[in-house]
Symmetry: C2
Subunit: 361 residues, 2 copies
């Protein structure tokens, strides 16, 4: 293990963390050296299930123990959202770089505390919105936005919906799930996508759409659609729901072109992804068809080596290495993206609380 290798510890051993383990295992400059969970049993089971050998990976029964391990450079936080804010701050104070599953906190005030702790301790912060790191996302930025093929953004539609069985829905309490419910857990993606398409210009106002808001019997938000107004000419509709089958649609309409994807959050397959676009589309004479079909742009991810998880890890490791070598400071772009996303989530949540009134940012 060279000095350049970034040594990770896990805070939380949920099943989903297996993906991160797999990505680190496949990488050449990162390694998992410790895992932790408040339940040592869960941590041990996770280690066994993920072939993490006791010779190379220390298993802790508490987050504190892992954070006190001086060998650990960076931590990946997957504990319930209601605890992430607190542990992220503690980890930053222990000089650990932070990769935090989304949503990284319950509200923007919590994120501000995390970001402050990261800045004071010169550690990198990044949330787990992997799709931003996919090469397709980079490709769209270049080919559609930078090139002018899309023109000015006029309208966006973005969803993240996934069907949860009825008996599970009732168990989604605010205590475990955060008060923003689906808006935080799922809305992180469509709201993040709208911000990304607007190059992180913030919306002027947001408004939850009354017809779309559903809660369970303990008041957790299960479904919400909202309108985001950017300036006077662009708006976005976002939709997040646990009541609708899996959908991850992103459609962006511009003054010159439009883009469509139905798998922007997690591509259908890991090794390849595509998007479709038109630019300068018109109906042909007599309106019996179009002057073009959508162009399909495919991005090859070279097996799993350039999957979006691998690309996220690569970027995070690059930044941590720079800081470790004393060559660069933490990149403030990533925490700023998280903060802006959370500010919009908070505003949508507030609109829901205010019976769908317009909330200005």
């Amino acid at each position: 293990m060279g000095d350049n290798t970034v040594r990770f510890g896990l805070l939380g051993c949920i099943r989903f963390a297996s993906k991160f383990v797999r990505t680190v295992t496949q990488s050449s400059n990162a390694v998992i050296i410790a895992i932790s969970d408040p339940s040592l049993e869960i941590a041990n089971t996770f280690a066994a299930a993920n072939n993490l050998s006791p010779e190379t990976v220390t298993v802790y029964g508490s987050y504190d123990e892992l954070l006190n391990d001086p060998r650990v450079d960076a931590v990946y936080l997957t504990m319930p959202v209601t605890q992430r804010g607190k542990w992220a701050v503690t980890a930053a104070e222990k000089k650990k770089h932070l990769l935090v599953e989304k949503p990284p906190a319950q509200n923007a005030a919590e994120i501000d505390k995390i970001v402050e702790a990261c800045e004071s301790n010169d550690v990198q912060f990044m949330d787990g919105a992997i799709w931003l790191h996919h090469q397709r996302t980079v490709k769209i930025r270049e080919t559609m936005f930078d090139s002018g093929l899309l023109g000015d953004v006029r309208h966006m539609y973005s969803t993240m919906t996934t069907l949860v069985p009825e008996q599970v829905l009732e168990r989604l309490t605010k205590e475990a799930f955060g008060s923003a419910g689906a808006i935080g857990e799922l809305g992180w993606y469509p709201i993040g996508a709208a911000l990304w398409a607007m190059s992180y210009q913030m919306p002027i106002s947001v408004k939850a759409l009354p017809s779309s808001v559903a809660t369970n019997s303990v008041g957790t938000i299960l479904s919400c659609s909202a309108s985001l107004q950017f300036g006077s000419t662009a708006n976005a509709i976002i939709y997040c729901s646990f009541l609708s089958q899996l959908s991850t649609d992103l459609a962006i309409s511009g003054s010159k072109g439009s883009i469509q994807m139905n798998d922007y959050v997690i591509p259908y397959k890991e090794d390849t992804a595509w998007f479709e676009y038109t630019s300068g589309a018109k109906f042909v004479d007599m309106h019996i068809g179009w002057n073009m079909k959508p162009e399909k742009v495919t991005v090859d991810c070279g097996g799993t080596e350039e999957s979006q998880e691998a690309m996220l890890l690569r970027e995070f490791v690059r930044l941590v290495q720079g800081i470790k070598r004393g060559e660069s400071e933490a990149d403030r772009r990533w925490p700023e993206i998280s903060r802006k996303t959370q500010l919009v989530i908070d505003a949508v949540k507030k609109s829901v609380d205010l019976c769908c009134e317009v909330v200005y940012l």
Copy 2:
């Protein structure tokens, strides 16, 4: 020309009417025998441009003259929307069957008058929303709705946008274009699509989205997005705009599946069309992909013979023939679809007028 042939006259000779002429010319049981326009010059130019021979097609310089021609069975109305209501009633009173371009009138009260005149005179009414007649539309109904693959509709997103040059936008006056502006002219499609997906259950309420409403200097609505609430669990977002490049998206998310199309109004190509769907989609273990890719269902339209225009004409002619033979009465389903579509347009327009308040239906 057999007795079974339906003899059409045109009320209005706009360039777009060429498509109808082409469709009738290709059909075996319909024929154009007369055209009319308040400007005889425009009518003559249209006849020449569409190879309508003076030997078979009479050219009139007024709508009244055509409506007094007893040989004409049915008329196709394409004059400006502000005149359609009046001429549709007059035509019905002259016992002409009516195919009326969308929107067929300026508001539901006008449509009610047309429908009343059609019922009193036992003539068929149908609006020009061709996509409802496409075989793809029929196929989706069978394979996704009737089969249960979609489940209950939860969320719909539907657009009709087309970019109009700035200098033209200013010329779109309410006098020529109707007071509903883009909501009538373009919104007819996405609102009609939402109603179609809900099997013509009417929304409980609608609401224009403030961020989306744009007007020109004379107050004509150029752009509008709106939320339609159907019952407590389904809602639709519709978007119509002259400020955004051509888009005709229809996405329907259900409790079990979802459907996507980006050319539902006019398919990219006339001879074939497709839609994509998933049903039972989930992320695979570790969320590194989906358990399926969207299924693409292609519908072959046999060249132009079964294009959506041909299918609309076929249905209209079938109904007119039935009435002509005294075998059936006019089909009330088509006017009812138009009426419901217009009621929702009126409600969205009202919401715009009320600064985007919720309007109950």
